[in-house]
Symmetry: C2
Subunit: 392 residues, 2 copies
């Protein structure tokens, strides 16, 4: 198969290394950034890729502009596309799927969610024979590395973030990771594959920027730790929810066992029960290995991971029908929580902060209530939890 | 697609329920045991299945005789086969693969290893683009339920086994589970898919029949628990090993987090790193869900999970090149271990038993040494471990 590659960074170079010695593939063009051409096989001109005789183009550029222009032009020119670019697929996946359908070419993007973990392809197969109830998990290795370091080694947030940067687990600008946006994009991809719906607005998202060493100290008193999860699923009404938020989980939880920068992607099928997949969610060779699996799937004849029914947006509001119990910390007396948040009981007061657990409240109501508290200057951390609920 | 089903027990009935309302499938014949025909859609005669116009036959009978006769006749008659029968595939998988290749029909058996966990199909895809280094894990829910109950609830072996039987997690005759034979059969299937080799002799196998409450008590003193794993992989020489034995693992291990009757199937790919899959390894709907995924794969055109290169037997001896450290308990003084087992240090003496850890020793040498001790009347429990090694 004749293949070209867009991008020669961390992932693109890994794909190039893995394909170049393989007798089943001929590499036609490798697009590099302006000024970075350092070998004959590289080109700085996208036109060279568009006009070569490659049948399959692997996009590892990241970002939306010009990745969307380049991938859509390649599909229009009759080339199949494999992408590792979650921002691109979350923003334009449905458009690209439609061009690929019209041209009868492939558009696959396993590596855009979960790195080496084959969550999207397994969901593709599972949704055809089972009813998916929910899907998601720990989908961002950077935040998990920070949280696990705070938990097990007692680091503060800034210290853990600095270490993650030094080790290459966090980017120079880590905003997308620590805000939860990266996790949300992966939830968007999972939702498209599992539920035929792209949740592109009104989602509830809370990252890890509010978590402190004190939160971990209190969590530990209850045998718990803190993780960041993203999830989408069907509410009892049959309508979808999608959110990103921290979770406080005890040592028996699958989440608490996820260490360092490992990811845990899961779904519950009505027949299969809960299926969990753990592995490297990022990195050159793990991510390239997912791209190579997609290349194999293209040669096997797979054209799409999205069905033609995939829609943008929710038919109804998102997490207003999905309820959770929460662990919450506020930097003032418990009275401040009154009114907006259904406090079940106060756990403790420490260092001028109040820690409490709530009764069941919808994800949307909780995020709205915390936003309101923050608008009035309060410092708040909150995490869904079923730990205290179980005790009661 | 026209489908017939061999067997109407736990799994077969689940498959029938899931297919019967599905407009994509027409069920032709359902073979039941003699004297159990209780509805029009059932037959007690295999000839009815062989002579119907089904294109695909799903075998959920279990056992080898007559499952091998029936499946081979169906393939010869030009019908594709999906099987959930690990004993059949371990004994005759290569024969059935060869008939299916000759007739250009499908022969898939996802449900025969790991229940709902898609370990075999994911290995099928991974092996084509990555180098698998090892594969295996906790592959038997019955033994894991017993071990977890002994660990977390302090039950004795007999008590835990009786409870597993009462809950339907263990069969009336649990020998295949507790001896490790069921795990071994799954390792055989994994090895066929991952390495093109069926390890059909000279394997080392140790089940859980020797484990006692005292072993768990001592393990707990070191923050550890005990699990049963099966594994196959490439030794440094490039030759294969395969074995089943208990493992003593600390609380940070993925194995120790596997509770109740859940399975954990894993592999390490050179590029992907360690990939882990957790889920229900048995039960009507989980197992039927794996069969339904295979049905979908057949409609997508997949014919085989085994390559035509799959061989019976090892080119060389099996686990004589694979070394581990061990935790060992013997019902006498440490002197009894001298000579055959490289004791690193004595951990403790309790209730007339000596607990020790060994230096690195090949799996084969360890199993041989323990067999020799047992021939002389010693009661021995042993489990591979890296816990004490890490400390040193």
């Amino acid at each position: 198969m004749k293949v070209s590659i867009l991008g020669h960074g961390v992932v693109g170079k890994g794909v190039w290394e893995m394909l170049k010695g393989n007798p089943g593939y001929e590499i036609r063009s490798v697009l590099v950034k302006k000024g970075e051409k350092s070998a004959d096989f590289m080109t700085e001109s996208f036109e060279d890729v568009l006009n070569d005789d490659s049948e399959l183009v692997i996009e590892c550029m990241g970002g939306i502009d010009p990745a969307y222009e380049f991938t859509s032009k390649c599909l229009e020119a009759g080339k199949s596309i494999i992408s590792s670019n979650k921002a691109l697929v979350a923003a334009h996946g449905i458009d690209l799927m439609e061009i690929a359908r019209r041209k009868n070419k492939a558009f696959l993007f396993s590596a855009a969610c979960g790195g080496a973990i084959p969550i999207l392809q397994n969901l593709c197969l599972a949704r055809r024979t089972d009813r998916i109830i929910w899907a998601g998990g720990i989908l961002n290795g950077t935040t998990n590395y920070i949280l696990d370091s705070m938990d097990r080694r007692g680091l503060g947030f800034d210290e853990a973030l600095a270490e993650a940067k030094a080790l290459g687990y966090a980017e120079f600008d880590p905003t997308a990771d620590i805000s939860g946006m990266d996790t949300l994009r992966k939830v968007m991809l999972i939702s498209m594959v599992a539920f035929d719906v792209l949740p592109n607005s009104d989602y509830n998202i809370e990252g890890i920027t509010s978590v402190t060493a004190l939160d971990f100290a209190v969590a530990k008193e209850y045998g718990c730790t803190i993780r960041l999860i993203g999830k989408c699923g069907l509410a009892e009404s049959g309508r979808l929810y999608a959110y990103v938020q921290p979770i406080l989980c005890d040592s028996g939880s699958a989440y608490s066992g996820i260490r360092s920068n490992i990811n845990l992607a899961r779904y519950e099928g009505q027949n299969s029960g809960v299926m969990s997949f753990m592995g490297q969610g990022a990195g050159r060779y793990p991510t390239a290995s997912a791209i190579l699996r997609d290349v194999t799937s293209v040669t096997d004849g797979q054209k799409q991971m999205l069905t033609g029914k995939c829609l943008v947006g929710f038919p109804y509001n998102n997490s207003g029908e999905c309820s959770r119990n929460y662990f919450i910390r506020i930097d003032s007396k418990a009275d401040a929580l009154k009114g907006s948040i259904p406090v079940n009981r106060i756990l403790c007061e420490k260092e001028g902060c109040t820690f409490a657990v709530t009764d069941s409240i919808t994800v949307k109501a909780m995020h709205d209530a915390v936003a309101e508290l923050r608008r009035h200057g309060a410092k708040v951390f909150f995490a869904e939890t079923s730990v205290f609920n179980k005790e009661a």
